[in-house]
Amino acid sequence: MKITVQLFARARDLAGAEHVELDVPAPGRVADLKRSLASRFPQVSPLVPSLLVAVGTDYANDQTQLSPDVAVACFPPVSGG
C-alpha cells in the first residue's frame, strides 16, 4: 500500500521533500515504513534509529498498524523550548 508521510526538520532536509509517498507491504506496520523510508532515502537512514513516527497526532511505535487513510509523520528527536 502507498503511505504518504510528512517529514520534518533534518529528516525533511535530508530527503529533500516535505511529503514522500512510500510503498509499504500490506498489512504494514511502522517498522515496515521505517525500512521503506531508509531504502528509498539512504541519506535519511542514519536518522532512522532515533526517528519518531506519529499517526494522526499520537506517537506510534514499531508495532503500530498502518493503513493508507491515516496521516503519518516522521521526524527526529524534538528540540523545542
Binding site: 536518522l47 519518531l52 528527536p77
Partner: protein
C-alpha cells in the same frame, strides 16, 4: 490557553491571564535565545513545528499537570520562525494556591514540552553553518539537548 505563533510572545499578557484571586503563586518560565553554548556562538535560531500535533501535545501536558497539581490557570505559548539573540521562544505560566506547586508544575511542563512536543530548532552558528538540534542523534548535535533557548 495554548498558542503557537510567529509573533513576539506577550508574556506579560499571558501572566495576567493566569493570575487569580484563587492563587497565591504564579510561576512564569521563559526560554530565551542564548548567544554562547560550549564556546560556540549562535546568531539566530529557526523554529519549526508540526502544529496540529504540537497543539494536541500541549493540551495533553496541561491535562497531565492539572491531574498532579491544583492548578488554577495555566498557559503555554511557543514561537516559531527566526528568533534573534535574547528573543523569547517559549513561555509557560502557571498559577496555584501555594508556591511549591507552581514551581513544580512549571518545571514539569517545560521539561515535558522538551521531550514530547514536535517542535525543532535549527542553529545558525556565527561561522555561517546551520545545524538542526536533534538530541541523541549521532551527527554532532547530540549534545544540543540542553542548548540554546532553554
Amino acid at each position: 490557553m495554548i498558542q503557537i505563533t510567529n509573533d513576539t510572545i506577550d508574556y506579560a499578557a499571558l501572566t495576567e491571564r493566569v493570575r487569580s484571586e484563587q492563587a497565591g503563586a504564579v510561576v512564569l518560565f521563559l526560554g530565551t535565545v542564548r548567544e554562547m553554548t560550549d564556546g560556540r556562538k549562535t546568531t539566530a535560531l529557526d523554529y519549526e513545528a508540526f502544529p496540529q500535533m504540537a497543539e494536541a501535545k500541549f493540551k495533553e501536558l496541561l491535562d497531565e499537570a492539572r491531574g498532579r497539581w491544583p492548578i488554577v490557570n495555566a498557559a503555554i505559548v511557543h514561537r516559531l520562525g527566526r528568533l534573534e539573540l535574547g528573543d523569547v521562544s517559549v513561555a509557560v505560566a502557571v498559577s496555584t494556591p501555594h508556591r511549591q506547586q507552581a514551581f513544580e508544575a512549571g518545571r514539569h511542563l517545560i521539561d515535558r514540552l522538551k521531550e514530547v512536543v514536535p517542535i525543532w530548532k535549527k542553529e545558525n552558528w556565527a561561522d555561517g553553518t546551520t545545524e538542526w538540534v536533534h538530541p541523541g542523534t549521532a551527527n554532532g548535535s547530540a549534545e544540543c539537548g540542553i542548548r540554546n533557548a532553554e
